[in-house]
Symmetry: C2
Subunit: 469 residues, 2 copies
């Protein structure tokens, strides 16, 4: 077992106990189950439980009574989660603080934290013109709901689009439309994940996916992604041992590392998913953002058992304002996800679906994508050129929107972040991309949002801040 | 305690056990906790647990070993939830079947099941014209995300709108925009409800709200709504005893009954919410759909402690295709809900928010609403006239979109539904509106979707079907 998985388990035991204390299942004064019982029921080593208990004690959640075990303390809620003062409601939230959205809320000039595409690179004009026209075609467009699973015309358009790209038929029963990939992940979690379920997640990862899975009460096991992909051996061990419900991954121009999982592993992953009945949730938001050559086909295309759910968001690189994502899966899976979508919002707004349709069938889109790739590649190279210095290292990505930069181990990341902010620079500290929120000496720099001149200026300022530390 | 609450508890114990069996926490062959322990830990009477255990036994989930208690059976999954055959994924879904969406999926001519407004009554033309213009005003509209909590301009517009309607200031920190009321309920559940939490819900109710709360693992306690409102005494007893996290209700032109909670009770409810720290989720989707006089002010306007969350959907009566709802709450509550919204979909699409803005400031909207009220009142009266017969009874609603019709007790609802479908007529059986899914001799007939002539024809056919039974 790798080191990161061990840390994961110890963290999971911690979370398991804390959740029960916080939701009142284990009341103040009551005895926590013994180390032996916890280890057996959670299927982990006793030392792992002991470590978690010690941390719970250090943080003031439990106390030890001589020889009789661990007992729940009275202070049940974390300070940051309970806000109680005069005339304010006392509330307890099951949603954790999102560090990513806090970083994005900073109003800075050099937003290297934002993994979005500069709006001026997007084909707003074409689309606006098109949207104006659709009202003439659909006079009652604003007066009607779309079907929960998606507008029939858009679903057909998606079916044709994926046929062209994957080379095989995607039936309309295998397609659902969601309001962005984020909603897709949220609905999958709602339908297939609940308390006590294990889930696998690539590490580093997209932190909002972890937040969603944690909110469902899942126990998160990280799976390391490297330049060479995943360790299939480790993956099989985890699937065998923990019977996870799903594996969330972003195998193509991965956020934040930019890595792409090789073809052989894609086949192996599809096989493992079926063998261990562990659904793979393949988030493929960056598939079209490549620089030199198109990436390998998705894991989804190797699936024969119906255990891969494929999310292709089009928001980022065509029209973030529309929020359109295609979710592909076996019709049985879609059937359940449509029920989850009904609970979530009763269907993506019809206007947005009709507006998006144009893009799937237009030649202009292809032209736009080619221009966009060139523009992003230039921005990436601009950032890499400015960043080249002995203290930084990174693997130059073949696609995507980010550089995943390794810093010297000794760097105080929090201080770097603060000092950078003083110069109006933001970035994403590695910790935020770590499923266990452990400090790691990495940071994510996005090259997609700023113009070249701003990238140059910002990177020079950033190097100054870094050297001053 | 009323009879319905007793039934609720017994159902909750049943659900509690079933969930644990289904998610594998209680494995086949293992012993279910004793009746005494279950009764103590769930805070219910032992006889209530016994009843639930007997039902579990009858349904084949557990068996009794002589004198040593109840044990989990091997058949863990319900047939309808597990679909396993050749080349199909084996999946277990935490989302239940939605009977409402099944009814809506029937393609019939006389859709009395659809609580939506006839699209031809909506002001599509004005709005379409306006949407065309907004692209000139916001050239990068489709290229940018909206802030998670909502577009600043729309939030300001909402603030001014509610100031005019409530007569007091609603700060922008108290407003969040969601994609319809449905998403509002879903986000509230995500943030404030988890396994083991009790929640109160009006009965009969909007079934999708129950589905959402059940999916979070909540224990649902129904609160009966009558012509006179709620029993405040019963409510206080429930809040005191079960410490519910929230009370979901629709106190104005209630769906499905059409009842409106009187003003004195609104004040009392706001006080109870604060006293017992039980948040009231006030779904006020029908506030503007009144026939003779405007309804009393929302419970939200009587709240001083920050324990009322107010949902005002505008979708139904202005532009269902846009899916826009305002969520009002104390800024502390909004702060948490915005985090939940970030997980759900990262923000409602900007195009829809900008498109909707027009309505809040336009005089045409007022004119539209007046016309809409008259049209709906005529349709209601048309339905009532056709329906008048000795075997039906209902309280004529002062607003909303539905008649809640009582049938003679002996009627076989399932048979009535089937026979009606044969004549291309759909309605919502009372059971679907019952939070415990218990059969009740009521049905919901919506008069808002069909034109007068179709209402007449459909009702006559329906009476024929009814009399033939």
């Amino acid at each position: 077992m790798t080191k990161s998985v061990k840390t994961a388990l110890y963290n999971q035991v911690f979370d398991y106990v804390l959740l029960r204390i916080q939701n009142g299942e284990w009341q103040a004064g009551s005895k926590v189950p013994s180390i032996r019982i916890m280890a057996e029921s959670l299927g982990v080593h006793r030392l792992t439980v002991l470590k978690a208990f010690q941390l719970l004690k250090d943080k003031g959640y439990v106390h030890v009574k001589d020889k009789s075990g661990y007992f729940v303390n009275k202070t049940e809620l974390k300070k940051e989660e309970e806000i109680s003062s005069f005339n304010q409601p006392k509330v307890y939230s099951y949603v954790q603080n999102s560090h990513l959205s806090e970083i994005h809320s900073e109003d800075v000039k050099y937003m290297f934290s934002t993994s979005l595409i500069d709006p001026t690179l997007l084909p707003n004009r074409y689309l606006s013109q098109h949207v104006k026209e659709i009202f003439d075609r659909y006079p009652h467009l604003l007066g009607t709901y779309a079907p929960v699973k998606g507008d029939a015309e858009l679903v057909n358009g998606m079916s044709a689009y994926f046929y062209r790209h994957f080379g095989f038929d995607i039936q309309k029963e295998s397609i659902m439309i969601t309001t962005g990939a984020q909603q897709g992940i949220d609905i999958i979690a709602k339908v297939f994940v609940q308390s006590h379920d294990y889930v696998l997640i690539d590490s580093p990862t997209y932190s909002a996916a972890v937040d969603i899975l944690r909110n469902r009460g899942a126990k998160v096991l990280p799976v390391e992604i490297t330049k060479d992909g995943f360790s299939i051996e480790n993956m099989e061990m985890l699937m065998k041992k923990y019977k996870p419900k799903l594996f969330y991954c972003n195998p193509t121009f991965h956020n934040p590392t930019g890595y792409t999982i090789p073809i052989e592993q894609r086949k192996q992953l599809a096989e493992l998913a079926e063998k261990y009945q562990c659904m793979i949730v393949e988030d493929d938001s960056f598939h079209e953002i490549y620089f030199n050559q198109a990436p390998p086909k998705p894991i989804f295309t190797y699936d024969t058992g119906g255990y891969v759910i494929y999310l292709r968001s089009f928001s980022k690189y065509i029209a973030p304002g529309l929020r359109i994502c295609a979710l592909l899966a076996h019709p049985i899976i879609i059937k359940w996800l449509v029920k989850g979508k009904a609970l979530a919002d009763n269907g993506t707004p019809l206007l947005n679906q009709k507006a998006f349709l144009y893009y799937l069938t237009s030649e202009r889109v292809q032209l736009h994508m080619e221009k966009l790739r060139i523009a992003l590649q230039i921005r990436k190279e601009t950032m890499e050129k400015e960043l080249s210095a002995q203290s930084f290292s990174w693997d130059s990505p073949e696609g995507g929107l980010n550089l995943w930069v390794k810093l010297p181990e000794h760097i105080d990341m929090e201080r770097l972040k603060q000092k950078a902010l003083e110069k109006s620079i933001s970035f994403v500290p590695g910790k935020i991309c770590n499923p266990l929120e452990v400090n790691i000496p990495y940071l994510r720099l996005s090259y997609s949002f700023l113009k070249e001149q701003d990238i140059k200026e910002g990177m020079r300022l950033f190097k100054g801040v870094f050297q001053a530390l």
